[in-house]
């Protein structure tokens, strides 16, 4: 009879094997980046796909996040001090250091990460990935590296736009709901915020870009089993990227704090 622990053991084995394969993909990506010319045309196309297409949805997400932060902090400070205080400070710190990078990465993982996994997964099950080999190139060189580079260049830019729209959302609520003058809101921000606070959030976006793009590419190129497999790979790519972003965010923050960038 099978031991009760057998399924658990199998899960551990499968997960370790998958992590090993993932590390191999990362290694191969680094090696190809050294060895071969970078496909700039593909990279630019991916930048447009990931960046331009994700911009409206990330901007809207962050605008409303800024709005709700202003609403909540205004309500709380009003409750304690009878006047809404430091709305700009709360909104800007929350957004620039945490919510901007994290929510942008999560939204882009849901949008562009899913698209990458689905596209590469379909290519895999229709033998297009094999065809790349027979035509003298490699999926890592032709597909993975352009997507990784595009993510590394675009996600930080998207995050800057997100930070900005988030703060604007906060301003909108501060003005309309709490009648706070723009100059007060603005001073709440610039009197307290330093460049290193921005750098703190900005540096994290590179880690998120790496995670989301590599996980999505990995799930895509290892897809098996037809349309069902593509669906499964896409779901897994999104779920794993999102969870990883949130988990790694804690450790990245802890590391940056230890380095004094906080």
């Amino acid at each position: 009879m099978e031991s009760l622990f057998a399924p658990f053991g199998r899960w551990i084995l499968a997960t370790s094997e998958e992590m090993g394969h993932f590390v191999f993909l990362v290694r191969s990506t680094v090696l190809w980046m050294y060895r071969a010319k970078i496909e700039w045309r593909q990279t630019l196309m991916q930048m447009a796909k990931i960046g331009v297409d994700s911009l409206p949805v990330t901007a809207m997400t962050m605008f409303f996040t800024g709005m709700v932060l202003a609403l909540q902090s205004g309500a709380t400070t009003k409750h304690f001090f009878n006047v809404p205080l430091f709305i700009g400070t709360v909104v800007s710190f929350s957004i620039v250091m945490e919510l901007g990078p994290v929510l942008t990465a999560v939204v882009v993982a849901g949008r562009a990460g899913a698209a990458i996994a689905a596209e590469l997964g379909t290519m895999k099950v229709t033998e297009q990935i094999d065809a790349l080999y027979t035509l003298g190139t490699d999926p890592v060189r032709y597909l993975v590296i352009p997507r990784l580079l595009a993510f590394l260049m675009v996600l930080p830019l998207l995050t800057v736009v997100s930070d900005f729209t988030g703060i604007l959302g906060g301003l909108f609520v501060a003005r309309v709901k709490y009648d706070i003058p723009t100059i007060v809101y603005w001073h709440d921000i610039i009197d307290n915020m330093q460049v290193k606070h921005f750098v703190h959030g900005f540096l994290k976006t590179f880690i998120f870009a790496f995670l989301v793009s590599m996980v999505s590419c990995y799930k895509g190129v290892t897809t098996r089993g037809g349309a069902e497999g593509v669906g499964k790979a896409t779901t897994q790519a999104v779920v794993i990227s999102m969870v990883l972003v949130l988990v790694i965010d804690y450790f990245a923050t802890a590391m940056l704090n230890a380095l004094g960038i906080t």
Binding site: D130, A131, T134
Partner: protein, 267 residues
Amino acid sequence: MIDASGVMKSFGKRTILRGIDLTVETGETMVIIGGSGCGKSTFLKCVIGLHAPDSGTIVVDGTDITKLKTEAEIANYRRRFGYLFQEGALFDSLTVEENICFGLKYLTDVPTSKYRQIASDSLALVGLKDVEDFKPSELSGGMKKRVALARAIAAQPQYILYDEPTTGLDPIMSDVINDLILDLQKQLKVTAIVVTHDMKSAYKVGSRIAMFHEGRVLQVGTPDEIKNTADPHVRQFVEGLSQGPIKMKLKEFEADEAHDGARRGKA
């Protein structure tokens, strides 16, 4: 010349190739026939290095693919092959011309200014015209196969590997593809391996035919030898009979019973 000996390949617990010995002479068209899952396509993928055999050797013009280690060496080895995939495997984000010229960038030093010409020449060889700017999704099944064939021959390979070139096509289009394979053979003087289970196609294009069964080579011979074979397995396959020594599973339990019966008979 392609010389394979003792090629074995398993995926997990499933053993697909159990020791393939097969020699394809330069200039001939070797047709590999056999039922689904007998390892035909797996063997083809081993030849071009998409799968690494577990054991055995595949020597192509003195180079043993199983001994190549680095990706660069394998890429260099693949240079001499054109591969026609079962479903074409055209890149659907690229146009027909970009598909055909895709390999030129990586396999050859041809300047990009010549790509358009090469694309239309390759298309002409497979009997197509003025489709360079179409996307694969705008083409019919037969046209896709032809474009895929044009892509396989664009970089002028010495060897062409065809994975079920006529599967999924109507009988007339199948025969057109057969004619194309013969035509390319004459014009480009390539060595070819054709994997198929379409016997009409096998007899027409093959200089020799090899029958695979359960991961081994059952018989190799000219089309006439295969047609008049004494081997009951090969005879059953080429005549397309459900009754015979090859047990196709109509129902799992029937096949098992037949198997048990045979075993009991032996005992």
